[in-house]
């Protein structure tokens, strides 16, 4: 892939961001109607991070993330139907209704899961990198986590192992400045998050996570570099979540002004303006894309509602491979 702007690929990034946003707006509404249970963490505001990074790498590169994972599956190509059905706990969900909001998986699209123990999935990513090298594949792994994860032991152990064994893993810190109600300045004794990588002699950089093109280009460059010369890399993507930590969080720990300030650099609004200015997008085309995203979200609700529950008779089918209850 080269950096020369390919119109279709550019527009696809915009439509992917729109799909994530419209999907989650629907999910939020359905959650309030109690159609969705458990914890539900929305990604709205952060769309450029996953859409840009996924666009910058190959489709067979592995990705893994934490529990704020709807965007990651959608960006990878999991259908809105499969995602909404998962939120509804239905058999047609991307994890057959057994995972829920925090555990979206899609093997076909090399999406190795949403994981809900903060930092606990980071060593798994080292394992994917290890497996790539072991098998002689040139796939890289993108491992996303929040700013809250960088003080967790599992994170540090995984970074050290990745550096030690030269594993082709990009550790992606989606720095949205908050871990629940705790701001980075209250959790981390570092001025620059990317400096975490220094302790492991690992290359690192920071990118504006509200700028989808910048994200894509950064990830493209890093991925191609470590594909050729296996080694881990650390990318801090600076972004912001518009909603509370989860559906139950009114986010009173930050000011309205701060939120409004970030919304001014909204990734969708900004990228739309860029594409329009460059003559790659018309008002009509944008409206079409947005309408398509809204329709996909509406349809996904209908699909989820009409889908069957996972059969209780299959309760024991997923504990052990090829074995029933023991």
């Amino acid at each position: 892939m080269d950096k020369i702007q390919n119109k279709d690929a550019e527009v696809k990034m915009l439509s992917d961001m729109l799909l994530i946003r419209r999907f989650e707006e629907r999910a939020s509404q359905q959650y309030q109607m109690q159609k969705i249970g458990g914890f539900c963490h929305l990604y709205i505001g952060q769309e450029a991070v996953v859409v840009g990074s996924v666009a910058g790498v190959r489709h067979d590169d592995y990705i893994i993330t934490a529990y704020r994972d709807h965007g990651h599956a959608l960006a990878r190509g999991t259908t809105a139907n499969a995602c909404m059905a998962e939120l509804f706990g239905k058999a047609t969900g991307c994890s057959k209704g057994l995972g829920g909001s925090m555990h979206f998986f899609d093997r076909e699209n090399a999406m190795l899961g949403g994981h809900a123990i903060v930092g606990g999935h980071v060593p798994l990513a080292a394992g994917f990198g290890f497996a790539s090298r072991y098998k002689g594949e040139d796939r890289v792994t993108l491992c996303y986590f929040g700013d809250g994860a960088i003080n967790q032991g599992a994170f540090h152990e995984a970074l050290n192992l990745a550096a030690l064994y030269n594993l082709p893993v990009i550790f992606v810190c989606e720095n949205n400045y908050f871990a629940m109600g705790t701001s980075v300045t209250r959790s981390t004794g570092l001025k620059e998050i990317a400096d975490r990588a220094r302790g492991y002699d690992m290359g690192s950089c920071a990118v504006d996570g509200m700028d989808v093109r910048a994200v894509r280009d950064t990830f493209h460059d890093v991925a191609e570099k470590i594909r050729k010369e296996p080694q881990p890399w650390f990318v801090e993507a600076r972004t912001y979540r518009y909603r509370g930590h989860s559906m139950s969080d009114p986010a009173t720990y930050r000011t309205k002004e701060e939120l409004e300030k970030y919304k001014e650099s909204d990734p969708i609004v900004k990228f739309r303006a860029v594409l329009t200015q460059e003559g790659l997008l018309t008002q009509e085309r944008f409206d079409e894309l947005d309408e398509a995203a809204k329709q996909a979200a509406i349809e996904s609700v209908k699909f989820a509602e009409d889908s069957p529950e996972p059969p209780v008779e299959e309760l024991y089918n997923y504990t052990f491979v090829n074995e029933g209850a023991k």
Binding site: L98, F105, G113, P123, L124, G127, F130, A154, V321, E323
Partner: protein, 336 residues
């Protein structure tokens, strides 16, 4: 018949050697198998279980890891999700506790969380349970902790033969399996089939170490030898004890257990872990639930005392199960 002692003119090898053979054979058979852990390669294993494997299989397959149990346990799980078959060595299972989240949250949950898309064919192995005067932090019996998590299989070999046959089966199993070895058994020799004979022992099959009709002693790992010795002592006093070695904790061979209990009507459980919510608690529950009417006496348990392990030799001995404690318990249930 106990399988615990040397057989003249047959092949007797140590439990350690048996594990080493199992690893070598599986590494040879399947290129996706690799061994990772602290000191497994260049040092040849903290307990020399992996002696010679680096030389034979190279650094790609035999991988030294830093002291990062959570990190390399998780790395193994990730590699297993992509089809490799990692064998992760914990220097002891006491140290697996710093990797607890990986072992109990990631390994056994992945299949369910992903709706069956990802499985974790991994083996965690290493010594488990008290050794000799290692004190409070290094003497943990972890079996009942791990047994509480659906999705993990657990086996507890007591003989060289079982160590080899169970480890090989564990490595081939498509699910996460814990092979809980025992430091005190590493040097103990017993009969194992010749190397050219494939030895696979299924998980979930108990072994009767000694026949008897008066009382059933359920045991596993370190308590097997104690139970067999106790049975011999009791025999001299006219009590015929049947010794059932569970061999695996999960799955549990309830059929063999219940058949024995239905025959003897009396049960003593000799377990190496702590009593509270220990393996024996589950066994008691299952036995009374299935064949309450067969029991002629309350079930007794011989487990550790409920204290952190003291260093002092005599105190440690007081904490641990022993042949004498088993003998006493058997006499009690037989007189009940």
């Amino acid at each position: 018949m106990s399988g615990l002692s040397d057989h003249p003119e047959t092949r007797n090898i140590t439990y350690r050697q048996a594990l080493n053979e199992a690893l070598a054979e599986e590494l040879e058979r399947d290129p996706n198998v690799f061994l990772m852990g602290e000191e497994v390669a260049e040092y040849n294993g903290a307990y020399k279980v992996s002696q010679g494997l680096l030389e034979k299989f190279g650094a790609k397959r035999i991988v030294d890891a830093p002291i990062s149990e959570g990190g390399f346990a998780g790395l193994g799980i990730g590699a297993a999700m992509l089809g490799l078959r990692p064998v992760i060595e914990f220097m002891t299972f006491s140290f697996s506790l710093v990797a607890f989240d990986q072992v109990v949250n990631n390994a056994p949950n992945m299949m369910t969380m992903s709706g069956g898309q990802f499985t974790v064919p991994i083996t965690f192995r290493g010594p488990n349970g008290p050794a000799h005067q290692l004190g409070a932090t290094h003497s943990h019996s972890t079996e009942s902790l791990f047994a509480n998590f659906p999705g993990l299989k657990i086996c507890t070999p007591a003989t060289a033969r079982d160590a080899k046959g169970l480890l090989k089966t564990a490595i081939r199993d498509d699910n996460p399996v814990l092979v809980l070895e025992s430091e005190l058994l590493y040097n103990v020799k017993s009969y194992v089939e010749p190397e050219d004979q494939e030895l696979l022992i299924p998980l979930g099959s108990a072994e009767i170490r000694r026949d008897g009709g008066d009382v059933t002693i359920l045991c596993y790992a370190q308590t097997v030898r104690m139970a067999v010795d106790a049975a011999k002592t009791l025999n001299a006093e006219g009590i015929r004890a049947e010794v059932v070695d569970l061999r695996s904790i999960k799955p549990l061979d309830m059929e063999t257990i219940l058949t024995s209990v239905a025959k003897t009507h009396r049960v003593v459980i000799a377990e190496q872990d702590r009593p509270f919510c220990g393996i024996g608690s589950e066994l008691c529950y299952r036995i009374q639930k299935e064949i309450f009417d067969e029991l002629d006496a309350p079930i007794l348990r011989v487990a550790q005392e409920e204290v952190p392990m003291p260093y002092n030799e005599a105190l440690e001995k007081a904490v641990l199960p022993s042949e004498q404690k088993i003998v006493d318990a058997v006499k009690k249930v037989c007189n009940a």
